[in-house]
């Protein structure tokens, strides 16, 4: 019954018949399209043309449309092409297809220099919007904090503890492992290069100052931005997509208080703890390498460490941690709430959350460095 589709030309007196046979369905669409394009070249011939479809074994939307397309392009001026021999089964399908308008207008975006300049302009102007969004969120979070201070019972304690477990407790193994390895690497490199000057022992000074002041907190903040900032954005973003945040609003809840504040609190509490654990792990790793690779025994290491670093170094590191946590949290929540309806938008905002989070963490670190230098810490 079925067979390869064909379109044969048979002259019948003054008229030309195009006889369609075989299976005119989607599976044969490429063949059909070529045949129809070929037959379309007959347009403009003086003969009257009719398309005979009585021998078509099977017809679907693809076949019906191609026959209709052929009919349209053969119809020119006074000559009108006819479809003949249409069986009752398929007449409603062909009628359906006949109502279709021709090709839609497809907008093709071309890349031009002005277009690229425009994009750059928009991106620069967008920076102001980003900063405004962050300040806005900071204000909203502080206002929510104020309300919670007045009515302490409105704090979502369960939610805060849940997020604390997610961002702090569950992050401990990976953070400790990575900072331990970084401590090892710093110590190894230090010993390797200082040894040439016979200054092996100064590796302890370098390790202590670097880890406690900078690396400990900075590295941990970057990892938290990647690990928890992205999670916050994805969570809030998918809630936004499913209208859960709108639902909260209509029930009279403030999304900032219910969703953002517990996450922010958890992060602000978690980062100092993680930074401390990270610093200890890095010092331990550095000490281990100094002993096994550099021959600095633990007692000498500890003695040197006590002499070389003061409590100031430790305070400088720890003071930065909650501020960086707040920056990461705000960026993540702003991005999360900015997600639009599509999965692509969720991906873009999650990426932006991590990139901006890390960027602001490093900027904050620079600002702190200037500040502490000027107050002599």
């Amino acid at each position: 019954m079925s067979g390869d589709p064909k379109l044969e030309r048979i002259a019948k007196g003054n008229a030309l018949a195009l006889c369609a046979t075989g299976t005119w369905t989607a599976s044969f669409a490429p063949v059909l399209e070529r045949m129809v394009a070929d037959a379309e070249k007959l347009a403009g011939s003086p003969q009257s043309i009719f398309i005979d479809v009585s021998e078509v074994a099977k017809l679907d939307t693809f076949g019906a449309w191609l026959i209709e397309r052929l009919r349209r392009s053969l119809t020119q001026g006074a000559v009108e092409a006819q479809i003949a021999g249409l069986s009752a089964n398929y007449s409603s399908l062909v009628d359906e297809v006949r109502r279709v308008r021709a090709t839609p207008v497809v907008d093709t975006t071309t890349i031009t220099i002005t277009g690229m300049l425009e994009q750059i302009g928009r991106a620069v102007a967008g920076i102001a919007g980003t900063v405004a969004g962050l300040v806005d969120m900071l204000g909203a979070v502080l206002a929510a904090c104020g309300r919670v201070l007045i009515h302490p019972r409105s704090l979502r304690l369960t939610s805060t503890v849940h997020h604390l477990e997610q961002v702090c407790w569950r992050a401990v193994p990976i953070i400790v492992l990575i900072t331990f390895l970084i401590g090892c690497i710093i110590a190894q490199q230090g010993i390797f290069h200082f040894r040439r000057f016979g200054a092996d022992i100064f590796v302890v000074d370098m390790l202590g100052v670097l880890v406690l002041r900078e690396i400990g907190v900075l590295l941990v903040a970057i990892m938290v931005a990647g690990r928890s900032g992205s999670a916050y954005t994805a969570e809030l973003g998918s809630m936004k997509m499913r209208e859960e945040i709108d639902a909260l609003r209509t029930m009279g809840f403030d999304p900032i208080e219910v969703l953002v504040l517990p996450r922010m609190l958890a992060l602000v509490l978690a980062l100092p703890i993680l930074a401390f654990l990270g610093a200890m792990a890095a010092l331990y790793g550095g000490g281990l390498v100094a002993w096994l690779y550099g021959g600095v025994d633990p007692e000498a290491f500890l003695l040197r460490l006590r002499d070389s670093i003061s409590i100031d170094h430790f305070i400088v590191g720890m003071v930065k941690a909650p501020v960086m946590a707040a920056v990461i949290g705000i960026v993540a929540c702003v991005e999360g709430l900015a997600v639009q309806g599509s999965a692509e938008s969720l991906g873009q905002h999650t990426t932006a959350s991590v990139v901006k989070g890390i960027f602001f963490v490093i900027v904050m670190d620079g600002v702190f460095a200037i500040f502490f230098a000027s107050i002599g810490m």
């Binding site: 669409a29 939307t61 693809f62 359906e96 279709v100 308008r101 090709t103 839609p104 599509s342 692509e344």
Partner: protein, 260 residues
């Protein structure tokens, strides 16, 4: 004609035998048998949580089954190889309950997605067919360049149906196609399904709760309860049934409103 019907009965398009599906300790489907005949619209009803969607998803292959066999187009889906399976998948279309449109693609790209994957045809033909499909499901051509997040619930259903039909399948699964539509929209949708079934010769497997759909669109109705098919037949058979749930369903307040 009689011979044709005889053939259709002998050759069901979906043949489900003794399938059992279990989630943990809960047995959702328990030795279920079901045949769907070529060219019919089968309405599938049952209480909420009875496993209607689970059966649909099991036939499509999204939910693993513990026991039993499923044949679609005469191909046993368990023993088939990848290319056979691909071939079967190309011949069915699925309309998910929430539409499941790809949110990062426009309506046009959504409908063209299966074509792009399975057919090697020109962009022009794909665009034209997309317009034809949109017209068939009763949408304006302007909708083509919109994203799913910019559509209303009813439009999402229609676009999802257009995507399910994009390769002109022989079989479509509709999971609650009229839920969330206004009665007029739902009525239009039923007419649409009927028209498409007539024009394209579709077989339709429709999970529904809509009594109107059962009365106006369906040729046959199957009822799911306790993990089995408790009844299958025409709407008249259902009304005559003495099964308590069926009596409540077809003789309740809402049902009377539909019949009168």
């Amino acid at each position: 004609m009689a011979q044709e019907i005889q053939n259709a009965i002998q050759d069901p398009i979906i043949r489900v035998r003794d399938i059992t599906v279990q989630f943990g300790a809960t047995r959702v489907l328990d030795g279920l048998n079901l045949d769907v005949k070529r060219g019919e619209i089968l309405g599938f009803v049952g209480p909420s949580g009875a496993g209607k969607s689970v059966l649909t998803r099991t036939i499509i292959g999204l939910v693993p089954k513990v026991a039993g066999s499923i044949e679609v187009f005469g191909v046993d889906l368990d023993s088939s190889n990848t290319s056979q399976r691909r071939n079967v998948e190309r011949r069915w279309g699925v309309l998910f309950q929430q539409g499941a449109l790809f949110s990062s693609l426009t309506v046009r790209q959504n409908i063209q997605f299966p074509m792009r994957e399975y057919l090697r045809v020109s962009q022009r033909l794909m665009d034209e067919i997309t317009m034809a499909k949109l017209a068939m499901v009763g949408l304006k051509p302007e909708v083509a360049e919109r994203f799913p997040s910019e559509l209303s619930g009813g439009m999402i259903k229609r676009v999802a149906l257009a995507r399910a039909l994009s390769l002109d399948p022989d079989l479509v699964f509709l999971d609650e196609p009229t839920s969330g539509l206004d009665p007029i929209g739902a009525g239009d949708f039923d007419d649409l399904v009927r028209t498409l079934q007539r024009t394209l010769g579709l077989t339709v497997f429709m999970v529904t709760h809509d009594l109107d759909s059962l009365y106006t669109a369906c040729d046959r109705i199957a009822v799911l309860g306790n993990g089995k098919i408790i009844a299958a037949g025409s709407i008249a058979d259902m009304q005559a049934s003495q099964h308590p749930w069926l009596r409540q369903y077809f003789h309740g307040k809402r049902a009377r409103a539909v019949v009168t």
